[in-house]
């Protein structure tokens, strides 16, 4: 098995990730030009290069997993890469179902930036902190990350909703507006992705708590844990208002945006402040 692994160039996954980054950059360029021109600019080529990038990206993650013989999620490099891949997957699934091209304006930059950060943080050491060597990692991290990807879609749908709503209320349609999905589709997408994302992060948090319990017999006072509680609470409010108070549209979109800012602060902030979730031990 070991000799078999050595057939690979040990850095092949890095090369693949860079290729993915290069391909994603076309998507990024598309997003920037679209935002500037207010009209869809070479969406098709951008979509295809993102798909090609995604294939390289998945291959990169698999190679890394084979190399470290573990879920490649313990390093910062790996975490960002994984998150970017999930965001791409989320976008592709949603695009397939809803055909909302303008979603790319949000998704492509996020994918590009996350992959870029992943590339920056590459650390050749393969050591895995013993504390993270636990089967819980296979449950906790994918749950949380899948949840994040779904909530990112909810966030983007919220922004699309607000853009479309502003245009409709202002009564001065622009050209970009013609390509935006309808309010109902935005709201539906936001709601569905919330309905998927919220249980995922809930289970993610519970599994994290259980993991901490199994090690320290108590919850760790990690900053990320606190932040994610806050974020979780925002989403809980959103679910509550949607189900009980019948909120839709604008107010729901605002909360989805606040919630995702919470996710970003949690994810990036924890890296900054240190703690167990820094992905860089």
């Amino acid at each position: 098995m070991v000799t078999h692994i050595k057939c690979y160039n040990p850095r092949m996954h890095v090369v693949l990730l860079r290729v993915a980054l290069g391909l994603y950059s076309i998507g990024f360029l598309h997003a920037v030009l679209t935002a500037l021109n207010k009209k869809h600019t070479f969406f098709r080529p951008a979509l295809w290069s993102v798909i090609a990038g995604f294939a390289c990206h998945v291959a990169s993650i698999i190679l890394r997993a084979i190399e470290v013989r573990y879920l490649p999620l313990t390093q910062r490099y790996e975490a960002f890469s994984f998150f970017a891949a999930l965001a791409t997957l989320g976008f592709l699934i949603v695009y397939r179902k809803y055909r909302i091209a303008p979603l790319s304006v949000f998704a492509f930059p996020l994918i590009f930036i996350m992959t870029f950060i992943a590339n920056l943080f590459y650390d050749p050491s393969r050591s895995i902190p013993p504390i993270l060597r636990s089967n819980w990692i296979y449950i906790h991290t994918p749950l949380v990350f899948l949840g994040y990807a779904a909530l990112f879609i909810a966030f983007s749908a919220g922004i699309l909703y607000l853009l479309q709503e502003r245009e409709l209320k202002s009564k001065r349609p622009t050209r970009f507006h013609n390509r935006l999905p309808s309010l109902e589709v935005c709201d539906d997408l936001a709601y569905k992705s919330l309905a998927i994302g919220f249980p995922l992060i809930t289970l993610g948090i519970i599994s994290g708590a259980l993991w901490a319990q199994s090690i320290w017999g108590a919850w760790a006072g990690d900053l990320k844990v606190l932040l994610s509680f806050f974020t979780w609470f925002v989403y809980l409010l959103l679910i509550h208002y949607r189900l009980i108070a019948g909120w839709r549209g604008r107010k729901a979109a605002y909360l989805a945006i606040v919630g995702f800012i919470g996710v970003l602060v949690t994810f990036l902030g924890a890296n900054y402040f240190g703690g167990l979730h820094t992905f860089n031990q």
Binding site: L168, K171, P173, S182, E184, R248, G249, R250
Partner: protein, 418 residues
Amino acid sequence: MQLAIVGLSHKTAPVEIRERLAFNNDALRSALTSLVEKSEVKEAMILSTCNRLEVVAESSDDRLIREFLCEYRRIPHEHLVKHLYSYRNVEAIRHVFRVTSSLDSMMVGEPQILGQVKEAYRIATDAGTVGMHLSALMSRAFAVAKKVRSETGISQSAVSISYAAVELARKIFGELSGKTVMIIGASKMGELAAKHLKRAGISSVLVTNRTFERAVELARVFEGAAVPFDRFMDHIDRADIVISSTGAPHFIINKPQAEQIIHRRKNKPIFFIDIAVPRDIDPSVNQIDNAFLYDIDDLQQVIDANLKERMKEAHRAEEIIDSEVQAFLLKMQSREVVPTIVQLKDALEKLRRDEIERNRRHLKDLTPEQQTAIDQITQALVNKILHHPIAQLKQMAHDPQGPELVELIRKIFNIKAQ
């Protein structure tokens, strides 16, 4: 290829002239047949719509087509001629491309014209008056129209009140199937907007009107339900779209009422279209979350913005057409130049052989070497004579004046068409 177009359109002729010239389908067939009986007209098709009448022909003589139109429709020459335009060759190609792509339409970008041109082409094909030139031209024109449509936005946005309403409804609700529209006040305008919405997929229609009989009548047209006017507020929350066009002198829906409607709808969005003057719905209703209100001026504003966008797109379409015209011209000319060169060579070679054959009696005393020399000399002479005409022909493939020059060379050397 000698293309000629003679015609008139809404830009050059008033409706009184246009209606006198219009052809129905049977008339088209017989007109086409008698047109190609003239030896100068090799191929022809006639496009007849309410806004234009055009004869597209493979012919070097557009005067003839003009006279044909006057005679055929029995309109005095002097009455008709000032309304007619004619285009030849490059200009004719451009004109066909522009018409088919809806750039020459009264409403630029309107989609019907492509179908009308296709129909005209089909009729001409059935009548047997289309040959290789027109078929090459028209199939390219259809491809260009498709390209213009997909690469520019000239036929994308709504430019009438009812279409603007449908389009806005789509932006709010996406799919319109399963949605309900309520018509308050049975005006023509409201009816038209409802008709468009119904065609766009709206599932049910509610009608209310001060005279209930009229509401019932209209409800029957739309296969919907009539609601008494004094109780329409009880039913309005079922409607996703409300079209209001009563003659009421004051608002019939104010802000608190609209808020209540939204509440009863559990915040589901509602689209108010107020096409009444004076207005039926308080403009501040638009400030309520999930309520969208457009009055007649707002709709007009949307249309104006769309029209402006169309003009910009039409400019881009013209650029596409420019390059398509050049490409088509080049293709057609090189298609004509090559056979001309071959025929030219064959004709002179035949001349040379005939001459040698005729003088064989005088040549029989010559040695075989001398006979070969004569053969070579005459061959060289033919090649020298042809050198410049052929070089010119090859260049003409790139020249807009090409068709005329090709024709001229054919005349000089007396080469008949195959």
